[in-house]
């Protein structure tokens, strides 16, 4: 049996259902909208597990599901050594979002990462502590800033409403996922003029140790083998 984990609500769920429907596999919630059980038609030996998108990486790595749909951002953030645990079976073409660093738009002297690094140094000297970046993507942001040799900053954890942290003075900058940038603009934040830390999209992942003939057949049916 192949257990397929799919985000349990919202647009991500609907677009995932559409993606599978285009490939002849009909996924649906069984019973009411409140029930997290699902049905699969058009494929043998596949069952549907509805989960929070954030839990799908962990469930895949633990082997409690064999296939899962989630963002590349979540897999890379949550699974250290992800390439050894899961394989990217198919990018699905939706759920596009970039992990970016944004600063207050009023910082007219901050265009790119070099400015940001210089401002972080000044800030530390002036305020006696490191400039704070609010994020929930600790590993990705830290690795990216280390690679670009930015020091003098610290990460502060923000699991939601991250765009509000600057106004609330609990952070000086943020690192978050954005698709259109509208929420950032509404909060007077501006994206640094750099390549994003990560370009993410909804992706079908498979547990590496579950790549048997059964899996091959299903992936072939999806056109993703």
């Amino acid at each position: 049996m192949i257990r397929l984990g799919v985000p349990s609500k919202g647009r991500l769920m609907e677009q995932t259902f559409d993606w599978f429907a285009d490939r002849g596999v009909t996924l649906s919630r069984s019973g009411s909208d409140r029930e997290y059980a699902g049905r699969v038609e058009g494929a043998e030996g596949v069952s549907l597990v509805l989960l929070s998108a954030g839990e799908i990486p962990r469930e895949l790595a633990a082997g409690r599901i064999e296939l899962g749909v989630t963002g590349t951002d979540l897999v890379r953030e949550k699974l250290a050594g992800w390439r050894d645990l899961v394989s990217e079976v198919a990018p699905m073409g939706f759920g596009h979002a970039d992990l970016i660093i944004a600063v207050p738009d009023c910082w007219r002297d901050c265009r790119d990462l070099d400015d940001f690094a210089a401002i972080a140094r000044d800030f530390r000297a002036q305020h006696g502590f490191r400039l704070r970046i609010a994020t929930k993507y600790h590993r990705l942001v830290r690795a990216w800033l280390a690679e670009h040799e930015v020091a003098d900053y610290q990460l502060v954890d923000s699991q939601g409403a991250t765009e509000g942290t600057v106004t609330n003075q609990t952070a000086e900058a943020i690192a978050d996922i954005t698709s259109s940038g509208a929420t950032l603009r509404a909060n007077n934040l501006r994206i640094l003029d750099e390549e994003p830390v990560l370009r993410s999209q909804a992706t079908l992942f498979a547990n590496r140790s579950a790549m048997g003939p059964e899996m091959q057949a299903f992936l072939t049916q999806l056109g993703a083998a």
């Binding site: 050594g81 390439r83 050894d84 009023c106 007219r108 002297d109 830290r142 280390a146 020091a151 610290q154």
Partner: protein
């Protein structure tokens, strides 16, 4: 696999030798307040140290190194000169990137260390000789350097303060340093700072921004640094030679960069002091950039002993960290030099022999 007991007994051997060398044994806590470590080392340490929470004391860190607690204890109640030694576990996460390492490194391992707080200029040689003699049977690759030499060379560049400060700050980040130096060698194009309707937000004040803009505007008028200076710096940073041959090479560089002459004298005296202790300098490599990629707080003499094993960290390393005592001492500074040996690696080398 070497049993932990064997690593422990190798560690005890080093600890005994450190005691014989006058070290007073100290045993810092395993759980340390996270705040001062995070402030010192930044996110690098958060990525590598285990952080846990105490309901009353707040964030605590499983000891990631001994230097900070030993310095803190000394600054609270120590008298100089002081020699301390210790043996115990340190804990380091091995966060992997995209793949799992083939041979994951230990997340807890022993360090045996010696720290020397003294104003005696001979302290560097004393420490190096102590480590050198203890490790001599293992035929390790010994390298030394001196961050003071590089810092003096950069400080003496004919640059306005703002540019010099930026270079000094980034000396431990080679890529950023190289880009800055390249930029300072080019004519500056004045920047424009477009107005915005955005209201002021956040803790960084508008004043801070205005000061930085003024600095950048002033910087736009600065003439490019003559190429000869970055060439001299490149030559100095690239200098690598057996330690018995390095002094004339350094003196040669000091002809063009008189500002490094005092540092060169210091290095020559240190090398002499090391040789006087019976160490063959031809088997020690002097690498001017040694220490640039290590701990930011080494600001003078640095050393390391490495085994010829792929993927291994140094078997032993250390250096002078006056700057660290300056930060931890809140204005007070104590000259300090210290180093650690990883007994676990020594046990593996001895087990394989």
């Amino acid at each position: 696999m070497i049993p932990k007991r064997d690593k422990q007994s190798v560690g005890q051997r080093f600890l005994a030798a450190f005691r014989d060398a006058g070290g007073v044994e100290v045993a810092p806590d395993l759980l340390l307040p996270a705040e001062s470590l995070l402030d010192l080392y930044g996110e690098d340490i958060r990525a590598r140290a285990y952080v846990t929470a105490d309901p009353i004391r707040g964030e605590m860190m499983l000891r990631p190194d001994f230097t900070v607690p030993v310095v803190q204890a000394h600054m609270q109640n120590g008298a100089e000169p002081a020699r301390y030694c210790y043996l115990g576990e340190v804990f380091r996460k091995q966060d992997m990137g995209d793949t799992h390492p083939e041979n994951p490194r230990d997340i807890e391992y022993l360090q045996a260390g010696f720290e020397l707080f003294s104003r005696d200029p001979d302290a560097d040689a004393e420490l190096f000789a102590l480590f050198h003699d203890l490790l001599a049977p293992l035929n390790l690759r010994a390298e030394i350097g001196d961050m003071g030499l590089l810092l003096d060379a950069v400080a003496a560049l004919p640059l306005p303060d703002a540019r010099r400060d930026a270079l000094m700050h980034h000396i431990w980040r080679p890529g950023r340093f190289r880009r800055l130096l390249a930029r300072f060698g080019q004519p500056t194009t004045p920047r424009d700072f477009p107005e915005t309707d955005a209201p002021w937000a956040g803790l960084r004040s508008e004043d801070e921004m205005i000061r930085r803009i003024a600095r950048l505007n002033a910087d736009a008028a600065v003439a490019p640094l003559a190429p000869i200076w970055s060439e001299r710096l490149d030559r100095l940073f690239a200098l690598q030679a057996p330690a018995d041959q390095v002094t004339p090479l350094l003196r040669d560089l000091a002809q063009d960069m008189p500002a490094i002459a005092p540092a060169v004298d210091r290095i020559a005296a240190r090398l002499q002091a090391i040789a006087d202790r019976g160490i063959d300098l031809s088997a020690v490599t002097f690498d001017a950039s040694h220490g640039r990629t290590t701990l930011e707080y080494y600001d003078g003499f640095t050393f390391s002993f490495a085994a010829d094993r792929a993927g291994w960290p140094d078997v032993a390393s250390g250096g002078r960290y006056d700057a660290l005592t300056r930060v931890l001492g809140k204005g007070r500074e104590i000259p300090a030099v210290g180093g650690i040996i990883r007994p676990g690696l020594v046990a593996e080398l001895e087990g394989a022999a």
